[in-house]
Amino acid sequence: MMITTSSKLLYGLGAGSLAAGFVWFVANEGQQLGSVMFAFLAVAFIFLGAIASYTRDGHVLSTDTAAHASSAASQKSVGRSLWPFGTAVSAGVTVVGLISSPGIFKVGVALLIAMLGEWMISNWAERASSSNEYNTKVRDYLVHPLELPVAGALLLAVIVLSFSRVFLALSKSVGAIVFAGMGALILFFGALIAVKRQANRRVVGAILGVLLLALAGTGVATALDGEREQLTEAAEEDHFAHRGCTEEKEYSDKKASRAVSMKSSILANVILTEDGQLYAEATGYPGQQSAITIQRSNPSTILFVNESSEARRMVLSYGKVVEDLGDGVERESALEACTSKVEKGGQQAVTVVVPKPSSASDEPFTITVPGVEGAKIDVFVP
């Protein structure tokens, strides 16, 4: 038989594409592009179909039943695997990291590599031979030397981190009491297991599991609790809004957006040095610059780095707009963009779109730091 099962499908698809190409040609009044695409598709399908015919779908002879049972390729796959799921989740984590913070991104990439590796090895091992037992052995042999130490390290990390979070949240004296109590508890349990030789492994395992979960849960709870307090405080202090670009003493940003992913797409860094010098480092330019260009109508991000000892902010002035309020009344307002005040060592990014060229403005465009005499960078918008 020339027309095998899969070649049937491919020939069918080829014929369908041909027909679709014809219909397209008629329906679109002679527009050829779609028809050409369908024709290519048809050729590809028919070509694949021909290969399938020629190789008879690459089938083992249907009469050779012995080969059906014994060849490695015809073994049933072992069963459900968690690795594809794990891979998908890691891909998700990677994407989330990409838009939120580099730390999460790195964790995502590491997870992704691990999951993919595990998936590939299991997949290979499941078909290594026709014996399932041998396949499992071969997999463990390959993977355990990597898996076990990593799993152990992770377990240890969870325990240590949870402990540290819990103790950070406790006061000094209570911490000491809890620490002593826990130590006693662990000793007690250890002694119990040692004495009761035939202790049911399952029961012991379950108890340890519950303990671990409780510890991790408390750790997470205490960690979250600490942070939430800071955030509410920040909101109360108007941390998130920064109005006006002057020098006045209002809230200053203690941790100005250190993890903004915008930092990866910076047009220029603007740095205020300890002795009040202001300079720029723009992508593609060597060394320290006293002038930068910003493309017109193009969202551009500038990162302000404060290395001086005072809390300071960066202000970008790019001309002014005149609004016509009717009846010959006009209102003039300056176009400015600024960071909030940034403490020593802090940095914050500002994104601006400058619609007009600097040559069209009476006043030059500049970057300045209010309160620092002579700190100025020229800004050109062509």
Partner: protein, 403 residues
């Protein structure tokens, strides 16, 4: 039935012949195998040996596959003995590719690093992609100002002009979607991504025109998003800069071009900038493309006729005859021919007029006024302005003087 082997061989022969013939294209301005500058040469020096290695491996693999498929095809014979596991073969077949790949990886990595070097930059140019044309601006700071006479920024489009044997660094970005800048004879591709600045070295060692096109699918008229890099001798480049920075010359009173200027102010200046153009009261006119176009930009027309192509370098401003004079000029004569710009006799009236009559018909763009809700009324591209033929005459006369 005919001998199947002969049939197969003649088919394969025909296919191979076709592929070979396809390599005979004579006029191939975007040929990666003909580098015209040191960066492209670095790539070329890498791709030739790699292509050779890959080609040999490819031929061996395909021949082996073909042989196996043919030799062991099903003729009803018994299934051969099934075995698994042959460590010697498996290890050999792993180690050989690994060695080959390592051999390829070492020069590849070093070329990548060489191509990413920026500490030898002599000139910086910003390159901004938008649907569907490239804008170039030459910042008037740093070495550009100090060594290349750029006392003011230059903004141009479509054709990037650079001095010969100069290490130019392009800062590539985009105003809307992702585009990709590629002049095959001068260097590899670099994506222009909104909000990011990517660096691309560019250097031409021989005066001439080097063509390229956007290589990241960017919407409706992606195929009309072309560009050219013009390499000029240093003296010619200086002349080019001086001309770009020359003050605006208004058309003489009473001419057709003067009428065109008035029309231009009324119809075009809201999107297009002509530097130095002023209104009746002497106030400089500043375009406001950010109010009309999604990307916030339209080509600067101050020196339109110093370029040879327009609208994403997709159409010639020169007639075929005059175009040949420039494109086919020898390296020595090229500069003078290019600097001559577009004269009245050489102007490709047909395409420019069609553009002014109905731009979106020539180059598909999203400019249908009834479908602009999504973009808040802003166009992607240049709309049809419903000009009369007389108005087009006047505008062409005006544009002809923009050199």
């Amino acid at each position: 039935m005919k001998n199947p082997r002969r049939r197969f061989l003649s088919l394969a022969g025909a296919a191979a012949g076709l592929v070979a013939v396809a390599g005979c294209a004579k006029d191939a301005p975007q040929d990666t195998w003909q580098p015209a500058g040191p960066n492209a040469e670095m790539i070329d020096n890498l791709q030739r040996p790699v292509f050779l290695v890959a080609g040999i491996v490819g031929v061996i693999v395909f021949a082996a596959v073909a042989w196996v498929v043919f030799r062991y095809r099903d003729r009803g014979q018994a299934i051969p003995e099934q075995t698994h596991g042959k460590p010697a073969v498996e290890i050999t077949l792993t180690v050989i590719p690994v060695l080959i790949l390592i051999g390829v990886a070492i020069p590849t990595a070093s070329t990548i690093f060489d191509l990413a070097k920026t500490d030898d930059t002599q000139m910086v140019i910003n390159v901004t992609g938008q649907q569907w044309w490239w804008e170039y601006d030459y910042p008037a700071i740093g070495d550009n100002a100090a060594k290349y006479g750029l006392s003011q920024p230059i903004v141009t489009s479509g054709q990037l002009v650079i001095p010969e044997n100069t290490k130019v660094l392009l800062r590539v970005t985009s105003r809307d979607v992702i585009h990709s800048y590629w002049i095959p004879k001068l260097n590899g591709k670099k994506d222009g991504v909104p909000g990011r600045v990517h660096l691309l070295r560019l250097e031409g060692s021989k005066p001439g025109i080097y063509a390229g096109q956007c290589t990241e699918f960017c919407g409706l008229s992606h195929s009309y998003m072309r560009m050219e890099t013009i390499v000029l001798k240093r003296a010619d480049f200086d002349a080019w800069v001086a001309n770009q920075l020359a003050p605006y010359e208004a058309p003489a009173e009473g001419t057709l071009a003067k009428e065109g200027e008035a029309l231009y102010i009324q119809q075009c200046s809201r999107c297009h900038q002509v530097n130095g153009l002023a209104d009746a009261e002497g106030n400089l006119i500043v375009s406001a493309p950010e109010q009309y176009v999604v990307s916030g930009a339209a080509p600067n027309l101050t020196n339109l006729m110093t370029r040879n192509t327009f609208a994403g370098a997709s159409w010639d401003l020169l007639t075929q005859e005059c175009r040949d004079v420039v494109w086919k000029a020898s390296a020595d004569e090229f500069g003078a021919k290019y600097l001559a710009g577009v004269s009245a006799d050489c102007l490709n009236q047909k395409d420019l007029r069609e553009w002014l009559r109905n731009a979106p018909e020539k180059k598909p763009m999203y400019v249908d006024p009834t479908k602009l809700q999504e973009t808040g009324g802003k166009y992607r591209g240049m709309p049809a302005l419903g000009l009369t033929e007389d108005q087009i005459d006047a505008l062409v006369a005006y544009l002809l003087e923009r050199k």
